[in-house]
Symmetry: C2
Subunit: 126 residues, 2 copies
Amino acid sequence: MTNADSPALKTALAYYHAWTSHAFDQAMTYVAQDIVCLAPAGRLEGAEAFRGFMESFTKILTRSSLVAAFGDETTAMLMYDTNTLPVKDAPGAECLTVEDGKITRLRIIFDRLPFDTARRGASGSD
Amino acid sequence: MTNADSPALKTALAYYHAWTSHAFDQAMTYVAQDIVCLAPAGRLEGAEAFRGFMESFTKILTRSSLVAAFGDETTAMLMYDTNTLPVKDAPGAECLTVEDGKITRLRIIFDRLPFDTARRGASGSD
């Protein structure tokens, strides 16, 4: 299978283009109710917990561009750059499992350190 | 092109299997002299700067396993779990550009926050 034929990549990109366009309701149509998300802060189970995590990120997102995207029958990987209000350069990478057009598992990696540093600065603590 | 045919993925996996086996000299045979590495802490130029960054990581590495790996003619993506001495669960993702069997560009994403927290704890500072 080539990446162009990948059903998992097709769903992953539809999800990506929706959330980076601030169309989060549309993004959630690609997310399974029982999604398991492995994020830097820990494991999130279920669509509502996932929405709480990702939608809050989209609210600080000012720009995004894809770096690379691959996929096969059931798995896709994306890497992207983002700019956010607190952190100007915040790239991320995702590995997504897709079943019947819905994302059932999403592993996301990003660097929390600059966000933590920005938060500490904003709160005046050290 | 399928991922199984990808020359970039073949090189990326050879590099990955070498550095995760603590065979760093072998890993460096897949790295171009003029590699550009985009890491969370910034941009590294040249094989020696890259080695200083990655080899120090391999010295604290205790285990690694691939999560996913894809590639085409010139680009590969890897995601992996690692365990390290200071941080037990430290996944990473890479996007690699490969030319003539050598990695010329490597973008790596991982979460620095738990390493920073461990370092602060070890030094007794807050």
